[in-house]
Amino acid sequence: MTIFIWTIQFIFIPVVSPLCVGIIKKIKARLQNREGASIFQPYKDLWKLLHKDEVISRDASWIFSSAPFIIFSVTIVVGASIPIFEPFFNNTLTGDMLIIVYALAIGTFFLALSGMDTGSAFGGLGSSREMTLSALAEGGLIFSLLTVALISGTTNLFAISSSIFGQGQHFLSVLLAFSGFFIVLLAETARFPYDNPDTHLELTMIHEAMILEYSGKRLALMEWASANKLLIFFALGANLFFPSGLAQNAYADAIILCIVIFMVKIFIFCLVIALIESSMAKFRFFRLPDLLLISFILNVVAIGLIY
């Protein structure tokens, strides 16, 4: 049974992540009076890209060719190390909050390097913007996770998600920390109001500018990795801050129920993101640090409220 659960845990993020992207796109399309593509379109896109030839610039170094594999692997490892439906697991090897945050940072680091590697003007722009944002977002991310860590007295994510349940007196702290976390989530996953995942305007891009030079299989990995990252952040947000509905034992019926509940939470995240992206304009680049500062302040207040 444990092997079985581990398998689900391991493949869950990469298997479900394209669906999230598809759902967000579908909701956005409907909100714009469009029919929109099927929610399974991202799978078809990945399949298509995986079967395409690719073009790699003559000037590209090993960083460009290996970055997609590094970035994708990082998301797989992180995806396997966070609580999705089984807080009873107690993964003590990679399930630590700091390991997760900085493992994701390795991915961002290589993403930024690969953007600059070919020397294209847009990649450089994207990388410099990404580094500005992720440096600012890091504080918010660490502090929001620290809030729940302090409440439950451990930095192990599995332990946090099983113990934060029933900490009713810290409800306000958790809520504030979640708000801070959500602001960072939008920045880290290249969503509104930071970045426009649907734009074709190279000059405005952040994430898309960095992967502009990729094609074929490597592009598929890059797209897949960013979908994984989106789901990882959804899972962190759902299970660390609102862990109700997580399985407390390893019986099959409990696990199935948990996965269903988890999917509902994910759907709510998708819906909120789609609503944000349909109802507001993207912010000017220089207003974004303010927003991340707000996230930081929310978390500091949340920590202050604990004591």
Partner: protein
Amino acid sequence: MPLLTTNMIKKIQQFIPKDAQVEFHDNNATFEVSILEIKKVARDLYANKNLSLKLITATDEREENGYFKIWYVFGVPKENLFIIPFILLKNKTEFPSISLVIYEALNYERKIKTFFGLTPIGCQDKRPIILHENWPTDVFPLRKDFDWQKRPQIATSGIYNFQKVKGEGIYEIPVGPIHAGIIEPGHFRFSVAGERIVLLEPRLGYTHKGSEKLFEVLPLDEKIKLSEKISGDSSFSHSLAFCQALEKLSDTTLPTRALYLRVIYAELERLANHFGDIGAIMMDTGFNFGGAQGSRLREMVMQINERITGSRFLRGVNTIGGVTKDIDNLEKNKLLLELKTISKDFSKVIGVALNSTSLLNRLKGTGVLSAEIAKNHGVIGVVGKAVGIINDARVDYPYAAYDKLLPDEIVTEQDGDVYARFLVRIKEAHASMKIIEDALDKLPKEDINIPNLNVVFKKNTFAMSVVEGWRGEIAYFVTTDENGSISRVVPRDPSFINWAVLRDAGFDNVIPDFPLINKSFNLSYSGNDL
């Protein structure tokens, strides 16, 4: 031909140097100026008499008369008059540049240099315009002895000198000519310090099609079709301006119903494009709701166009002597009803948009064009109106039935930012709907064109025609030779003028705002490159 009243002659006389020999062609007064005098005369008309420069162009008349002629066309707003001094270049290929006294003359002179091989002496910008390095520098396509069917040898040596900014941390970003969206090709060279634009230089010419030369060689009905393709989104306005010039050259008087129909079609074109632009501006800020609604409204108008005329872009509608498609009573009532729905929808969408703080925050203060720079470049159309320049061919040079259906007032804004250009479009769209309703109400019962019209052009003359397209004023200058056939057609799209100030609007903005600024201008590449 409307005879010139003494009153008009008196008015004209104040613009003309005393010793000049004036010739009248319709509503144009033309006179020769010596090469030494042209700077002074042009400056006097432009700065002291406050005339607006419509265009500067050359004609190659070496075969008949042995000279090149350079025309300086000035318009007298509200009077529907054109004052046109010209200079003659006999056995020489140099002429004095007036760009130091009239800055907006610069690009016209560069164009004469590139296409006629006549050198403007004193012109500060010696780079060719529109034609690229692959075009040999000693072949001049608008000279009459250039064989349009022969392809010249590809030149390989030239380089184009972009302006350079030097300094620590300056980063150069080349963008285009191929873009990610389905838009026309154009190259932009940015020099940035961090995210700030220090210098932006557009380089165009990628859609050069030799239209001006084609105008000289194609048969007449093909010429009208060609005018529809100068800038595809302004098909009707361009062909309207061209047909009006041809009607002046052949002394054709139109039935009034045709004049009213032309107003209706022209405003439908404006409406469709303004809706599209308003949506596109919102789309570029990421405000997806507005973007989707803009394209929906535009599509509604395009489908009306298709139903009435069979063409979404109103092509094949204009003809010499009127229009080819009528609006019958049934259609009229249907259209009035649809306009009501569209108007209600549009107001609702704009209501939502103007209540969105995040949208307004992106639009306000972005891409500010100063009024002074705009005036020096003679900026026209939406961009000009957004800095308070009151210029609208529908009022200044009334054509079709606009004298009876005048827009209440010319809408203007003062701030010159993206928001101002956005608002001008909104107000113009509202005004357009009113004009269409008004025109439908007053639509007289008559023919829509002149059946079996035998078109004969006057000999050795020329005509000017201006039309307010949705981007701004479109001007056509058409000349005929001694046989009464068209010898030169100069289409001047507003984009040709407004492209020159895009760099000023972009200056000191952040790079991610440039696409938005560019969209708020939405200039035609094809209309500029010809």
